[in-house]
Symmetry: C2
Subunit: 584 residues, 2 copies
């Protein structure tokens, strides 16, 4: 037996009992006549004391040789600590050590195992097994487990069945790039790893499974943006005999449950907003509604004067930044530089200071009088003391730019409180979006999303205007889930493939099994999927997912700890009937 | 709203309420003046009645057009059924239909959606989404979900943390064949899909995670034997600061919990047996101990006469088949044919009938007298009325043959009751096993298994005799789990790799990260993994796993429903910097 207790559970009630503990040496202090060692395990830290008067001499000698991160086992008695530490659970006691066994020695770790480490990202990833010993990472992984258990228990109690769908499936050119797996037994053929279990969960609905969920790994071979992983985890759900309202209601319930159980936060409002309204009001389909700064469109009140920039613009739009009228000229110039950075891309910014005396001072005073500016203030909801920031240009671009500015100002003003949670449904997404590169329409969600029945005629006349029964769940400015009511009849699905540029033969080759299935009694169905990595990170009060993943990959898709991917044997290639195209 | 209730919940208490149901037409009976329809969903079957006197005429007409597996929605009132059906939960009531909506039509399914279907394996797999509508498959998948939830909740309550380990890892030539994934971003390099998360879970122990589990997909590119799948699911577990006893105790607890919660079976005995004893007593390292027929070794009492076959044999061994002394000569001849089949491989079989009068009648009476045969009866535990079956030859082979016969006789005698559960730990497995093909030792479990410290010197002198701290959990003659205490220091791991024929360079190239990790304070640790597919099947009273997997692959590794694997585009191959070796 390596331990009678963990390093996190002993307190004053255990005084005078004999205990055995095992763990890692967090640190030691050698005062000559006395040595203190902080012993750490997953559960906490317990202070050990080796005392030349009370501890056997050889044990004291051995204690002097202990280095950081040595793995040891000690036996001793629990005694009251002289100077108590109220910050830790075991702070009232310490262990007077009688026996000491070194279970394993340790080299000096390449970075300190502390909450605030001196290790940079690269070295921490190479030695991820040491990084995981640090509280911020360890606690994030344990937090992830708790969220996963809550999700599973909630959905299971609601009658959902977790069904495992296959990982070795078929590649489809639609959507993102697939990872593929050469098949040895089927020469020249490949499996693909799933980008999501989409078609399988729909087949489960055809199969009568009624309510399905799965917490499941998915794979996308994309050029990695920051904070994206080639393998990621999804909470995948599907329900039969439901309309959109049924689905929103179930997953609103799940979100409330998670926030209550995990964060002890009760959500009052759970608003819904159409995609159009989100774009108009926040310039963004995943608005952070923890704070205000709603967009005010100014075309009507800013395009009647000689200011050519605005007159030529498709959209003139502003936000009122609370309390920022006090910005100096220099501060405002820096802000203008900020919106002109390539990442934001604005050509310039017009501002209006709303002075405390009710007057306005703007960068376009020679074009607009106080009455004009008062109307701008009204449209943006600006109050005395606010700074109105106005951008103009092509609608989509200017909305994205002003949205970036809105988020930046909220960040600077401390309005993005990670312990406040504001969920939001965004509904009525467009069915299709125009792709500039390929010059055709793509499915905004995926090709299985059902158009709103009343919009189907628009498919012929104005495809971009067709709305879908599609919805996203947004939390604190992040899309954490999205889904739709699906097409469940062969004809609508064929129509959809047609509008996406599939020939009937291509549609049959790739999705014939699904269209066949629709002929054998497919029920109406729909669902959604949550990005589990991001959900956990946001619940954990963070915006980056990496510390909530035990062994993440870097931006080149490499695992630097195990050094993968790597070359494989020629024998292996031969067995798979493939060869490298490059010359070595 | 598609339904107010499911098809499994209405009973006499609902009489006179108006309800809406949705589901599939299981079958309909048209008596002219009345039509009955069985409406099915995941939850059950409810009888609908369309009555020319009480149901609107157009609804009756529409009902006449309903075919099997049509998806419909009905509104009507719950009424008492005239002839009640006590076999189903809703058997007291039926729905007098007022409104009928056909949600989707259905082609005639290619096999009947009944418990006993007329569909063969192939067609059922091609239309798996229809097969899942059948109770035996649907219930198996729901059962699997229940077992998964119980496992997760049990382990979580025991302090285990579920940690997701990566699916895109590194290929290692040791062990079974890997599935590999070409990396687009790292030209000429490949990921591998994990055969198990073995090294990652050990790194989690080095990382202080203390108790880890995961229900996780694993992958092996093997030539498929019957009832094996290229992707399968494992309950993977690891613990730090434990010895073998701690691990056996936790998972004995889990097994008892599952049997109690899932099957309401309380397990009294949970025996342990060494590998040597299992081989000697049952000829098998996963004995089914629900029944007796223990092996009796007969060398001492059968090799003193002129019977050359026995005298030349390394092992003479028999079992007493209860009650089989009554077998006719013809029946015994058929049994001898059975053991001589190539799948069993015996050269012949000697038998002894233990007559009710205490006398013996054997096939070798000219060599052995009644006293000799009495000693055989004693060694095999045979009683009056039993048939002693004796095989002889090379020890390993004859044990395997007699074990096969033992299982066959148990099957014939109805001793393998699927509702009786007899778990067993088999411990002290050999560390290494000799591989005839490569003429070297292989790790019996895997290269990370710890030898018993007292046996380490034998590594130099008699490697095959070294025992490992390795154990299997056996349930009803199936290995459902296996694990070991791991090596946790670099030197022992290097010694092990050396004995497995790795050069130090090879060991470093493949497992350098693990050996590095062992230098930074690795705790003693161990664990095990359960085959989840098989565990679920056995708990479900079945020996084949296929119906407990939603979308299984066939013996060529194909998913015949989606037709995968398949050819991929040349563009895709080019992006991955690979090409096919075969000429098309």
């Amino acid at each position: 037996m390596y331990r009678s207790h963990t390093c996190g559970e002993l307190n004053a009630t255990h005084i005078n009992t004999t205990v055995t503990l095992s763990g890692w040496v967090q640190k030691s202090r050698d005062k000559g006549f006395m040595i203190w060692v902080d012993l750490r395990d997953r559960y906490g830290i317990t202070q050990l004391i080796f005392d030349t008067e009370r501890t056997p001499k050889d044990v004291v000698e051995k204690a002097k040789t202990l280095g950081r991160e040595f793995v040891i086992q000690v036996k001793g008695s629990v005694i009251e600590r002289e100077s108590k530490n109220p910050n830790i659970a075991t702070g009232d006691i310490e262990i007077l050590v009688e026996e000491l066994i070194v279970l394993n020695e340790a080299l000096l770790p390449p970075f300190t195992i502390e909450d605030n480490t001196d290790g940079g990202e690269d070295i921490r990833m190479k030695y991820r097994y040491l990084d995981i010993r640090r509280n911020p990472v360890k606690n994030s992984l344990m937090f992830r487990h708790q969220v996963g258990m809550q999700v599973r228990n909630y959905l299971s109690n609601q009658g959902f069945i977790e069904v495992e769908t296959p990982y070795l499936i078929k590649s489809t050119p639609e959507g993102a790039r697939d990872f593929v797996v050469p098949s040895r037994m089927n020469e020249g053929q490949f499996y693909a790893l799933p980008q999501s279990p989409q078609t399988f969960k729909q087949l489960l609905m055809v199969g009568g499974m009624d309510k399905y969920f799965q917490i499941v790994k998915c794979f996308r071979d994309e050029d990695l943006r920051a904070d994206r992983q080639p393998e990621f985890t999804q909470i995948d759900c599907e329900m039969a005999f439901v309309n959109q309202e049924d689905i929103l209601s179930i997953f609103e319930g799940m979100t409330r449950h998670l926030l209550k159980e995990i964060k002890d936060v009760a959500i009052n409002k759970f608003p819904r907003m159409t995609y159009d309204e989100a774009m108009r009001t926040y310039g963004n389909d995943k608005p952070d509604i923890r704070f205000d700064m709603k967009f005010g469109e100014l075309n009507a009140v800013a395009q009647h004067k000689e200011f050519k920039v605005f007159n030529d613009a498709e959209l003139v739009v502003g936000i009122a930044v609370p309390g920022a009228a006090s910005y100096t000229r220099k501060e405002i110039d820096k802000l203008i530089d900020w919106v002109k950075r390539p990442q934001v891309g604005a050509l310039g910014m017009v501002y209006v200071k709303c002075n405390e005396d009710g007057s306005y001072k703007s960068s376009v005073d020679k074009f607009y009088d106080q009455d004009d500016l008062a109307k701008w203030a009204e449209a943006t909801g600006a109050k005395a003391g606010d700074l109105i920031c106005v951008l103009s240009g092509q609608t989509n671009k200017v909305r994205a730019q002003l949205s970036a500015l809105r988020m930046e100002m909220a960040e600077r003003l401390g309005l993005r409180n990670p312990e406040e949670f504001a969920p939001l449904w965004v509904v009525d997404f467009p069915l299709l979006e125009w792709d500039e590169e390929t010059e055709r329409y793509h499915a905004m969600h995926h090709p299985f999303t059902s158009p709103k029945p009343e919009d189907i005629p628009l498919l012929e006349t104005d495809p971009g205007k067709v709305r879908a029964n599609a919805y996203d769940l947004v939390l604190n400015g992040n899309e954490i889930g999205g889904g739709s009511i699906r097409i469940h009849d062969k004809n609508t699905q064929a129509l959809m493939f047609d509008h996406l540029g599939f020939t009937p033969e291509e549609a049959k080759a790739q999705f014939g099994f699904l269209m066949d299935a629709f002929q054998y009694g497919a029920p109406p169905h729909g669902g959604l999927a949550f990005g589990f990595d991001r959900l956990v990170a946001i619940l954990g009060g963070q915006e980056t997912i990496r510390d909530f993943i035990a062994f993440p990959k870097n931006n080149s898709g490499r695992d630097v700890m195990i050094d993968a991917p790597a070359a494989i044997d020629n024998d292996q290639l031969q067995e798979l009937s493939i060869q490298l195209s490059i010359q070595e």
